[in-house]
């Protein structure tokens, strides 16, 4: 059941990225290009998603188990540290270069775009580098949380 609901959530997420136009890197770069001819679409995508999310996460806030009986495992960390800022900076640079972030890259790969598959392979390699350098420490955090 949890696997099915997750599959459906992933499907709806992917459909949302296609409908919104965000699977297209040119559209994302159109938003990030403030000095050019600016396409504000991405801001509305975020606005729509956060609008629904605010309600959903307000509902889940005080629950200890999900509707399907799984333990709630939403992130609890609230502190801002150097890792967060430096990591997000690197991510933003890569996002600006290619116009891809992880979700849209997966969807574009599903469209059969070879360039998206290349990006996803490199992204997984990058995540692998993180696991090699930091995996053990995050693993400890995961087990203790």
């Amino acid at each position: 059941m949890l696997v099915l609901s997750s599959l459906l959530a992933g499907l709806v997420f992917g459909l949302g990225l296609i409908v919104s136009g965000m699977a297209d890197p040119a559209k994302v770069i159109g938003f990030l290009d403030l000095a050019g001819r600016w396409d504000p679409s991405l801001a509305l995508v975020m606005g729509g998603a956060v609008g629904v999310g605010l309600v959903a996460f307000a509902v889940t806030r005080h629950r200890t188990v999900s509707l399907l009986g799984a333990p709630m495992k939403l992130p609890a960390a609230r502190h801002v540290d150097r890792r967060l800022v430096l990591g997000s900076t690197l991510f933003g640079m890569g996002w600006g270069m290619a116009g891809f972030c992880p979700g849209p890259a997966l969807v574009a790969m599903g469209m059969g775009e070879v360039k998206a598959a290349i990006f996803v392979a490199a992204m997984l390699a990058g995540m692998g580098v993180f696991e090699l350098l930091e995996g053990r420490t995050t693993e400890a955090v995961r087990r203790h949380s």
Binding site: A26, L74, A98
Partner: protein, 144 residues
């Protein structure tokens, strides 16, 4: 700032955003998990027993979304301008950066802002800022 009114697609953007929000809501309410793509993917590289199937299912759902969309309407054409080397470098940066920063546009941007997490507000401001600067540098300073 000049708004590109021809490229701006407010209604599809809003509709797609609502779908993304519904997907995040589904995963939170039904599974008790946050829909952060980089975290869902990244944790698969060091699999923990009992924590794999839902992640794989979510990723499969995303990858088959174009197929399902294609049953009802023609898929939009994508424009991927970055050449091979830039895609590889960008992919590496996104992979390393999202894992060190504990999230991407979905985990911090959509879910984190919805959870009113101060950490996610900072992360979102930082990666958007870095994205703005990167596009300015590559497009307008180097004319790539």
């Amino acid at each position: 700032m000049v708004i590109d009114w021809n490229a701006f697609t407010p209604w599809p953007a809003l509709a797609g955003g609502l779908l993304i929000g519904i997907a995040a809501a589904m995963l939170a309410v039904l599974n008790g998990r946050v829909a952060g793509i980089s975290g869902i993917l990244g944790a698969l590289l060091r699999p923990v027993k009992g924590d794999v199937a839902w992640r794989v299912a979510f990723v499969i759902g995303m990858v088959v979304a174009p197929f399902v969309y294609g049953l009802f309407a023609a898929l939009p054409k994508l424009q991927i301008d970055a050449p091979f080397a830039e895609l590889v470098l960008a992919g590496l940066l996104v992979g390393i950066g999202t894992r060190y920063g504990s999230g991407c546009t979905s985990g911090h941007g959509v879910c984190g802002l919805s959870r009113l997490s101060p950490r996610s507000f900072v992360a979102t401001a930082v990666f958007m800022g870095a994205g703005f600067v990167t596009v300015f540098v590559t497009r307008h300073l180097f004319g790539l």
